[in-house]
């Protein structure tokens, strides 16, 4: 829902809040904090899986030299 529907009325009111859905800030905060925490969980699990996989293959300290591209 638009917080501002008429700029003249808005500016005359002296109210500086212009972003949409004013009054719902707490819900947005809860959503964003949840996204942040879930991001950590997902990336940590993904990283562990990748590290364990690479460690089990154990390519050795010089194997990466075979993977240096020509381009």
């Amino acid at each position: 829902m638009a917080t501002v529907t008429n700029w003249v009325e808005q500016l005359n009111s002296g109210d500086g809040v212009v972003y949409p859905f004013a009054g719902t800030e707490l819900y947005w905060l809860i959503l964003c904090v949840a996204i942040w925490i879930v991001w950590h969980i997902i990336t940590s699990a993904s990283e562990t899986e990748h590290m364990n996989d690479l460690a089990s293959r154990n390519p050795g300290p010089d194997a990466h030299k075979e993977n240096i591209t020509d381009w």
């Binding site: 940590s44 690479l54 990466h64």
Partner: protein, 455 residues
Amino acid sequence: MEDQLGALTTVFTEMYYWLTVVLMFLIHVGFCMYEVGVSRYKHHQHTLMKNTMLIPLVTITWYFFGWWIYSAFVNGPYLAESIMDGNSGLQLGGGFGANDMANPISSVMAVNLGDHINGVFWAAFLLFSWTAASIVSGAVIERIRISAFGILAIAIGSVFWTIDASWGWHFDGWMVKVLGYHDAYASGVIHAVCGGFALGVLIVLGPRIGKFVNGNPVNIGPRNPWLVTLGLFLIYTGFWGFYAACNVPIIDLQGEYGLEGTYFTATTIYITPTTLSGITFNFLMSLAGGLLAGYVVSKGDPFWTYSSGLAGIICASAGNDLYHPLQSMVIAMVGVVIMHRLHFWVERRFKIDDAVGAVAVHGYAGVVGLVICGFVLWGYPSSGYWDTPINPVGMIIGAIIMFGLLGLLPGYVIAKILNSMGKLRIPKEVELAGMDFDTMEAAKNDQKVYAAAEK
């Protein structure tokens, strides 16, 4: 903005901080180049991603709670009374309290036509927070998990440096009022605390494989000196923006101090007068002093000479709002000599592998700068609001709080917790193979497919 002069002052201040943020972005570009230049080929991309991902993580947590902590903890709590309203607990009101300025659900933490300062001020501090995390990032390259570093970055970038800034880098901070702490351009509140935090993490993390052979340190790197050079020059450049951001560009002290007439001036973050002209002298003279000393003590080693330029500025920063430029130069040189010797002594004695010298350049140089400031500025008032003088004892206690209490201790404890969960360090096999092994292998396979298609 009721008259033209008021409007110009407000918009100028808004634009001033906005530009400092853009300039300070170069610090992060520099850190990325610098770390990649130091790291080995098989770790490049992970090194870059580690330093890149701290940007979103510190940014959102700085919005969620970091900025709030800065305003809320000025009294300790319960270590001093606020000059705003006499409160000694968490400072939530009083005009500049946490809920006035920094509550993430407040309308001033958004586009608000009635506020032109909060967002740019928030951003300037946020860029300091990125720098805080980036300082730690360089020290731990090639063996830390990115997920672990993300948590450490949030801890230093959005919690611990924020607390120390609230205590010692705020016009109402208890350390300024009680100890006479003075740290105009953040020798302690950014650099010493981050150096200490990095050391705490390094103690638990341990050295890179092959760093110590038969107990003796082996010099690893830098792999790309040119990238390191560009990186450090960009950090110098961004540091200009940092110095500018540490000031209030224009304020009338008549209303603040009850002067008889108007007195427009630039001030430090403590609302003590200085001039942008003066700090320009001191920034450049301390850079020059650091480079000169670094060239001598490192016998012309480029890596340490460039780092010493940075360390020189860091060492003089606590008092660069008031020092004479020649004093800045000498103080920078003293700081560089001490931090360089201390780095190699700690490395050899305690087997600490600080890959980029971050603990030395930021931590030791910052601590030395605080102690020197206590003597050179002994007797100066720490503020115009009260009479507590700057003094050596207060500055030494301040240095211990910054480096030890809010830096080394939490860095060590959080790293210990992560390590006990098996989440701190990458497996030995991955460290040897290189964290980029799979990415490189995929690129090579793509090249083979492409080459086959060409035939």
